[in-house]
Symmetry: C2
Subunit: 144 residues, 2 copies
Amino acid sequence: MSDPLSKRRLKMWIRLLGVTRAAESHLREFLRVQHDTTLPRFDVLAALYRRREGVTMSELSRMLLVSNGNATTVVDRLENDGLVRRTPSETDRRTVFVALTAEGLRQFEVLATQHEAEVGRLFANLSEADLDVLTDILKRMGPR
Amino acid sequence: MSDPLSKRRLKMWIRLLGVTRAAESHLREFLRVQHDTTLPRFDVLAALYRRREGVTMSELSRMLLVSNGNATTVVDRLENDGLVRRTPSETDRRTVFVALTAEGLRQFEVLATQHEAEVGRLFANLSEADLDVLTDILKRMGPR
DNA sequence: CCAAACAATTTCAAGTTTAAAATTTTCCGG
DNA sequence: CCGGAAAATTTTAAACTTGAAATTGTTTGG
């Protein structure tokens, strides 16, 4: 027989996945329709905004929990669009730093405001108390 | 300035996304290494297991929150591997029913047991009380 | 009846994602 | 110094995903 607690954990996981996917879909649609961009692009810009001084490709893919190859192609496109710049490291010729361009920064700041508002709407029925509890639990669920 | 509550909701969302993506990565790896399969395939099998009598393609993509086109290609592959069967509807020639084959059922039952155990391990440090609270909140976050 | 709206599915093009292999460069023990 | 292990990144092949268009079939208002 299967442990009833593990069955409850499974049900919770399925529900968690459902909620997250639904919210992701909504935000993807929001970015596409309102801002003609995509979630992966937004994620990269957000990561580079948090680390204004620039990050290496490896750091970037670790931050976003995506593969190196994936980070490469998204950055390729953003670079072509002039939102992001690659700068070879002076000291280690293997590494490349990626950072927002002025245009990338400008665009992201617009995007971020709207995105925050949309997330606010999406989770409007979570009270301050809910957020406290939820945040505490999520912290404990994080990668140990 | 931006509403501090919406900022908290944003932080919560980022954390939620991180936890979910990390767990998804872990399970993807688990399915690949231990069972030589993928998450989307598993998701389709799981949906068909829950609805043993079969579902239409549209129902399937609604259940999984993926596009119709996506459901088509994953089902294509599973059909080629003999895990899933398509049966045209008698009454409406537009619709197709998808269901597990005997082999699909057999394979999924093995998979499901292992998967549940893995999810149990992943969230081992969530207590019964955590699950109560979390489930309640997730219900209220759902698409209402 | 019948044209038009609607519905279910597949096809398509473009982009995303992954894991593995390949490439280039650095580091290190002997 | 040198040969191999390790590191950072890119490339590659295959799978996944999406939204839109195309296809095929059903329904319905006039």
